[in-house]
Structure formats: structure tokens, C-alpha cells
């Protein structure tokens, strides 16, 4: 199934590639996804997407190794996420300080051909938010965190996101199939948030951004999961009443089945 999907994707990719070349030969970087939707059903335990591409510039301008580098960023819909730190209060460990990070990606994965720091200049990485150290982690104005501890909260935030597999840095995970064609796999864990994802690919030449592409990936619940989730979100009263009816029915049924003889 996966092999079929891959070969299909390659075929589509090849077709779109030739089309792209006809349309605009100036395009240095072309990318395609193995699938543009990820469906979450009851048996969903995570998946992965494959990103293919061709960097034609590499072919046109002969170069020394290390001149051209690639980075691919997968970014989930933005969220506000609070990071809290525990402290001891009256002998009990409780959440004391909190820092709220605003509009941070709910999912972030970056794949690259080399160590992120070697790909491009720092300001370029910051501008395009490439690499976990270059994310824009804006905090809300109101916070009880001392200024000197802010960095600890940033580090803890990124670490916790990494631990839950929602943030990752996969250096040197892009592999070249030919001199110009490349591919990489990005695993999507079971706890990925739903929404529209952006997949941005960047081509660098000696630290300068030469070309970039952007694609979208939709992560959505389908079928029963979607119906249930939307009912709970949009018609919570109906959902609640339904849950109660279901519970009473189950209890009643059990009472009937196991009635003592």
C-alpha cells in the first residue's frame, strides 16, 4: 500500500515536475508531498509523510560539495501554549510561575541536509524560523516569571514539546536519490493536532536563500471521529444528552442481561 502510494506520488511528481519546467524554467526548487491530507480515524496511531523534490539549480551550476544545502520545515497551526513551573508551597509542589507563548506552532519538524547552524546565517534562520533555536517564541505581556528565568522557560517549552514528539529537528535526514532529486520522511505522531499544516522547503547556496516553496497539508479527523468531535464542539448540549442516554441505556441493558435468575 505504502509502496503503491510512493510510486504513485513519484509518477505525479514526475508529471508535475515536467509541467513546472515547461511553465517556468527559472524555478530552482520543486517539491511534492506523498499525500496532501492526513486522515485521523479510530485506528490512527501516527503516520509519516514523504516529501520529494528536485533542486535543478544544483545541476545547472556545478559546485563544490557543501555549497548547496536544503531545509524542509513542517509547521502545524499556531496555538497559545502555557508553560508552568512547579515550586514548593507549604510543603506541597504546586504550579507557581507561568509563561504564555503566543502563536507558536502546534507541531514543528525540520529536516535538513546538514547541521542547521551550518546551513545559513543566523539572521536568515531566524527570519524563516528554521530550527528549534530559531523559532519565534513570543510571550504574552503579563507574566510572573522573572526576566532572568525567561530563557529557562523557553528551553523547557521546547524540551517538553520534543519529548511529546511534537517538535523535532532531523538534521542530515534529507537524502539525495540522484544529484538533484531528494526525499525525506517526516513522522507525524499519534497526538498531532488537527488543522492546516505548512510545509516549507528552502534551498541555500553558501548560506544565501536561493529558492523556496510552500505547500499545505491538511490533518483532519474523518468519519466517526469527525462527527463526534464536531458534535462535542458545536452542539455540546446534544452531545451531553446523547452521552447520558447512551450511559443509561448501557446500564439498563446490563441490568436486563445479568438479571439474577
Amino acid at each position: 500500500m505504502i509502496r503503491f502510494a510512493l510510486s504513485f506520488a513519484f509518477a505525479v511528481f514526475g508529471a508535475s515536475l515536467s509541467l513546472a519546467q515547461e511553465e517556468a524554467s527559472s524555478k530552482d526548487l520543486v517539491t511534492a508531498l506523498s499525500s496532501d491530507t492526513v486522515s485521523i480515524q479510530s485506528n490512527f496511531t501516527g503516520t509519516e509523510i514523504v516529501i520529494f523534490g528536485q533542486a535543478s539549480d544544483i545541476e545547472r551550476a556545478p559546485h563544490a560539495a557543501g555549497d548547496f544545502e536544503l531545509a524542509i520545515v513542517v509547521e502545524g497551526p499556531p496555538q497559545d501554549i502555557t508553560t508552568r513551573r512547579k515550586g514548593r508551597f507549604l510543603g506541597v509542589w504546586v504550579n507557581r510561575e507561568a509563561e504564555r507563548f503566543q502563536n507558536v506552532p502546534s507541531f514543528y519538524a525540520v529536516a535538513s541536509t546538514a547541521d542547521i547552524g551550518d546551513i545559513a546565517h543566523r539572521n536568515v534562520l531566524d527570519e524563516y524560523r528554521i530550527g528549534l533555536n530559531h523559532l519565534n517564541l513570543a510571550v504574552s505581556g503579563v507574566s510572573n516569571v522573572p526576566l532572568s528565568d525567561r530563557d529557562d522557560f523557553r528551553k523547557a517549552f521546547v524540551r517538553l514539546r520534543e519529548e511529546s514528539d511534537l517538535y523535532s529537528e532531523r538534521e542530515t535526514s534529507i537524502e539525495f536519490l540522484t544529484d538533484t532529486m531528494f526525499r525525506t520522511n517526516i513522522p507525524l505522531p499519534a497526538n498531532i493536532p488537527v488543522g492546516d499544516y505548512k510545509i516549507k522547503s528552502f534551498l541555500f547556496n553558501r548560506g544565501d536563500l536561493v529558492s523556496q516553496t510552500e505547500q499545505t497539508l491538511a490533518v483532519a479527523k474523518i468519519g466517526f471521529e469527525q462527527v463526534t468531535f464536531e458534535l462535542a464542539q458545536n452542539y455540546p448540549l446534544v452531545y451531553g444528552v446523547l452521552a447520558v442516554i447512551l450511559a443509561i441505556f448501557t446500564g439498563w441493558l446490563a441490568g436486563v442481561i445479568f438479571k439474577k435468575d
Binding site: T45, V92, W93, V94, A190, A232, A243, G251
Partner: protein, 337 residues
């Protein structure tokens, strides 16, 4: 259950376990929860429901105070655990209520007044739940409440059951309830007559009791029968043959209200998780009830007391030990918070 039925049952459970093993081999038994937004092992959840159902059948309790902590400790977000167990409690008390209804062992008037308080308490509970979640202190309040109530009630039960066992061994007959015995509660105004319970008491403690249990039940994900039953017996002096049916009736409808309030307020009731727990629970309860008939009442209460205190202790340890990770993250709304 006759021998023949038992044999048929054993065979069917055997084929069930075989097909279960096959399905394990074929594909992982993960089930994605649409509201919690995480996959769980369906058989682990089913077994948890079954085990708690077994204990609830054995001890004649709702089991929410065991199930909610079990879910929290196994990694389900606390908000989802609490809200979903309120739904599970509805199912587990529904079949019991039917039994007591048939036996006419429910004081409807008393239950209705308790229920009015319960719904009000539950509403306040959901509002507070939401506030606590947004300031990041929900887990703390849940843990502290569990420590406080479980160790207090567990301790009382332990004390009482040890005394009962000693008394039985020394051969002294337990003292029966003395008629006409009154306490301060019977001096309150707004008295109402409850014919079924042969009581004439003020509605204030009745509504108050309902509200407290409804409030705690909604915040902690428990039915609260283990608090309601002693309160009805010792504070209001409701006859013991009416107590359990009346308490269950109140719990059933208070938890139904809590489910609806949680669905509308915190939106963390996971119907798939609830369904799995319910099915495991009602099956486990049948076996528990059968086994419970072979054990002595005071021995049962001693075991239950130890269980209750154990859960309370587990929460206390988490609060007192230096945490492995000082930091935690939470998303503002929904299941992950």
C-alpha cells in the same frame, strides 16, 4: 447461574479470548479517542473498567474514586478523566437504581430534594473546574481533594470496621439505632416530612448535602456514594434499607447533570472512552457482586477502607515528592489543558 449456563459461558469467553489474541497479533489494539485526541490501548481501558467494576460490585460502591485516578495515572488528561468518569458513573448506577426501584427501596421525595442540591452543586463545580483549568491549578485541587477526602473517609471506615470485627470476635451484639435520638441537624427550620424514610427534618441539610456531593463529584469525577451513604445514615438518620437506593438515585441524576455540564463547559467528555469503560464496568460489576456475597460485611469494609486510603496516599506522595520535571505545558482550551 446453573452449571450448564456456566459451562456455556466459559466456552464463549474462551472463544472471545482467542479471537482477542488473534486481533492483537493482526493489528495493534490502539483506539483513537476523538476528544482526548490520543490513541489508547482499548483492552487496557476495558480491563481498567472491568477491574473497577469488579470492585464496585464487590463493595457496593460506584468506583469513580478508583477509576478517575487510574485514568489520570495512566496518562489520560485529568480533565478528560474526570468528565468521562461522570458519564461512566451514570451507566454503573443506572442498573442498580432499577433494582432498588423494583424493590421500592427509594425515598423519591428525599432523593428529589437531594438531587436539586446536587444539580446546583454540579453547576458550581463545572464553573470552578473551568476557572481552575485556566489558572493551571486544576491538577493540584484534584490531588489535594483526593488526599483529604480519601484519607479522612478511609480512616473513618478503617476505624469503624476494625471496631466491628473486634466486637464480633468478642461476641458483643452491635448496638442498634436508638429511636428518637436527635442531633443538632434536627433543630434546623424548614422541616419537611419524608414518609418513606420515617423522617421529619429540615430541607437545609438535605439540599446542602446534595450540593456538596454534586460539587465534589463534578470536580473529582466520583459518584460520591461512599460519602453520601454514611452522611445519610449518621447525619439524617435515614433507615439503612432506604439509604442505598436513595443515594444511588441521587447519584445517577446528579452525574447525568454533571455529564451535560461538562459537555457544555469543559467539552472534555470522551464518549468513546466512556463507552469502553462502561462495558468493562458493567461486566466486572456482575462478577464482583457475586463474589461479594461470600464475604463478611466488616471484612469488606476493612478492605475497602485500605483501598480508599491507598488511593489517597498515592496522590499525597505525588504532591510531596520532588517532581521529576518542574515544568509542564498546557494548551489553553480543551483536552490537553
Amino acid at each position: 447461574m446453573t452449571l450448564w449456563q456456566a459451562r456455556v459461558f466459559n466456552q464463549s469467553s474462551l472463544t472471545l479470548s482467542q479471537s482477542y489474541l488473534q486481533s492483537v497479533r493482526r493489528n495493534p489494539v490502539q483506539l483513537y479517542l476523538p476528544i482526548a485526541e490520543i490513541p489508547v490501548n482499548i483492552f487496557v481501558i476495558f480491563a481498567m473498567g472491568g477491574a473497577v467494576g469488579f470492585l464496585s460490585g464487590l463493595f457496593g460502591i460506584g468506583g469513580g474514586f478508583l477509576l478517575t485516578p487510574l485514568l489520570i495515572f495512566s496518562g489520560i488528561p485529568p480533565a478528560v478523566s474526570v468528565a468521562t468518569v461522570t458519564t461512566q458513573v451514570v451507566a454503573s448506577s443506572a442498573s442498580a437504581v432499577m433494582t432498588y426501584w423494583r424493590r421500592k427501596a427509594i425515598d423519591l421525595k428525599l432523593a428529589t430534594i437531594l438531587l436539586a442540591g446536587g444539580v446546583f452543586g454540579s453547576l458550581i463545580g463545572v464553573i470552578l473546574f473551568d476557572v481552575l483549568q485556566s489558572v493551571g491549578q486544576l491538577d493540584l485541587v484534584i490531588s489535594l481533594s483526593y488526599v483529604t477526602f480519601l484519607s479522612a473517609i478511609g480512616g473513618l471506615m478503617l476505624f469503624e470496621s476494625i471496631r466491628a470485627i473486634r466486637r464480633r470476635k468478642s461476641g458483643v451484639a452491635p448496638s442498634a439505632r436508638k429511636p428518637g435520638q436527635h442531633n443538632w441537624i434536627h433543630g434546623l427550620p424548614l422541616k419537611v416530612r419524608f414518609r418513606r424514610s420515617k423522617l421529619y427534618v429540615s430541607v437545609i441539610p438535605v439540599v446542602g448535602l446534595g450540593a456538596i456531593i454534586g460539587f465534589l463529584g463534578t470536580i473529582l469525577g466520583i459518584g460520591g456514594g461512599f460519602m453520601m451513604v454514611p452522611a445519610l445514615i449518621y447525619l439524617l438518620r435515614v433507615p439503612t434499607n432506604i439509604v442505598i437506593g436513595t443515594s444511588l438515585f441521587q447519584i445517577l441524576f446528579t452525574m447525568a447533570a454533571a455529564t451535560i455540564f461538562h459537555s457544555m463547559g469543559t467539552k472534555t467528555v470522551d464518549i468513546v472512552l466512556a463507552m469502553t469503560l462502561m462495558i468493562g464496568g458493567v461486566i466486572g460489576a456482575q462478577f464482583g457482586a457475586r463474589m461479594g456475597q461470600n464475604l463478611r460485611g466488616d471484612q469488606l469494609r476493612l478492605l475497602l477502607a485500605l483501598l480508599v486510603m491507598g488511593v489517597g496516599l498515592r496522590f499525597a506522595v505525588d504532591l510531596l515528592l520532588v517532581p521529576e520535571d518542574f515544568y509542564s505545558i498546557a494548551i489553553r482550551k480543551g483536552a490537553g489543558a
